[in-house]
């Protein structure tokens, strides 16, 4: 192992591991990129570093400045770590119904948490943060949903790493949140091989959409449209909490201890593998399982865990 001079240099270059034992189709390999191996514990370390360093380069932030971000967890945690190292003050707007470990991690890194209503989900956190950014023009608003440094981190990092480790990839499957992972990685992989299929996995909208007053309260991330997401994606499919947690548990059979959204990605890969003749599916595991222990995801009755997952943001 090499010696690093800063934890920031440990971000990226994550390992990929074969989980084909769980593939429903012997002609389809499934490989998982373990983003939980990043120092802050998730794929979001990549964009946290990228968004802050781009803002430093263009002079929009200075040491000691207040930064504001809407996040249901991992981006906030990644930013909080990078801000602590670099000396910025971070405020995170977060739906009140995220798992307790997420709040604890933010507090550990010294970020201030601003609650947004649980019923409004990520949409509500985004709306509140945008409003606060307008009211406080001296705060820096990195805004992962619109910041080109988000997909750039994946276009320059995640994508090339996958291509280097696995040029035989035929399908790339990842969760759709800000769309940064899919836009950046997907666009890079298609520049190398336009035949690669990019599949987006999303959680069911469920109760989250009940907070909307009308359709114009809806939201499509600017980075999705800026990267021509409608043409870039080949498929977008919903994976429910039961399937996610069932696959999350099965992943333990091959030694993978990951977050609940990894179960969704794996369920998506399995759906993909069962619909194609042959190929190599690469999926992203966004984080490790530690932050989800309090949810009982592995140990409690499946029905109870699934029911709770409907009311809590784990993804």
């Amino acid at each position: 192992m090499a010696l690093y001079t800063s934890v920031l240099d440990l971000i990226g270059n994550t390992p990929m591991v074969e989980v084909s034992e769980l593939s429903p189709n012997p002609q389809v390999r499934i490989l998982m990129k373990l983003e939980g191996q990043n120092p802050g514990g998730s794929v979001k370390d990549r964009i946290a570093k990228s968004m802050i360093e781009e803002a430093e380069k263009d002079g929009s932030i200075r040491p000691g400045q207040v930064l504001l971000e809407p996040s249901s967890g991992n981006t906030g945690i990644g930013l909080a770590m990078v801000c602590r190292i670099k000396g910025y003050r971070l405020k995170v707007v977060m739906p009140a119904n995220v798992s307790v470990e997420r709040r604890q991690l933010l507090e550990l890194w010294g970020a201030e948490i601003i609650d947004s209503p649980a019923a409004e989900g990520s949409n509500g956190a985004v709306r509140r943060a945008r409003q606060m950014a307008e009211e406080n023009p001296d705060w820096a608003f990195l805004y992962q949903y619109a910041n080109p440094a988000n997909p750039k981190a994946h276009f320059e990092g995640t994508g090339p790493e996958i291509w280097q480790d696995c040029p035989e990839v035929t399908h790339f499957v990842a969760g759709l949140g800000t769309s940064g992972t899919l836009m950046g990685t997907g666009r890079y992989l298609k520049t190398r091989n336009p035949d690669i299929q990019v599949w987006a996995i999303e959680p069911p909208a469920g109760e989250l959409v009940d907070g909307l007053r009308n359709l114009d309260d809806g939201y499509v991330p600017p980075i999705f449209t800026d990267n021509d997401g409608y043409n870039l994606l080949d498929r977008k499919t919903v994976i429910g909490p039961r399937e996610s947690i069932e696959w999350l548990r099965r992943l333990a059979d091959v030694g993978i201890f990951a977050g609940i959204s990894t179960g969704s990605a794996m369920a998506g890969a399995v759906r993909c593998a069962s619909q194609i003749e042959s190929g190599t599916v690469v999926i992203v595991s966004p984080d490790g399982g530690w932050k989800y222990l309090s949810t009982g995801a592995w140990t409690e009755d499946l029905d109870a865990v699934v029911e709770r997952a409907r009311h809590t943001l784990y993804f």
Binding site: N74, T75, V209, N214, D217, G218, Y219, V238
Partner: protein, 93 residues
């Protein structure tokens, strides 16, 4: 062929308060057209002036977003469920 269409909370006022209704059609476009003829308030909500889906409306056949299948030409079969949902920011952010 009757297809079950799930209506999101935000549009239920236009569908007699119902969370799911029946509509006829062999493609998503036909189903939405039939839906609009039964519930005239829905028409302006689902499609833009260009005849494509409103930008904040996602339509699914079972689990798949039709924008990445054959859009309004996506076929539907007996037993499949068409779900209309507003686009919202995803969770994993």
């Amino acid at each position: 062929m009757a297809i079950t269409v799930r209506i999101p909370t935000v549009l239920r006022a236009h569908a007699g308060g119902k969370s799911s209704v029946e509509a006829e059609g062999a493609t998503v476009g036909e189903v939405l057209k039939d839906l609009a003829s039964r519930y005239p308030g829905m028409s302006g909500q689902l499609l833009g002036e260009d005849g494509n889906l409103h930008r904040f409306v996602n339509v699914y056949v079972d689990d798949d977003d039709v924008r990445y299948l054959d859009k309004l030409y996506t076929t539907v079969r007996e037993g499949q469920v068409v779900s209309i949902l507003p686009a919202v920011a995803g969770g994993g952010a």
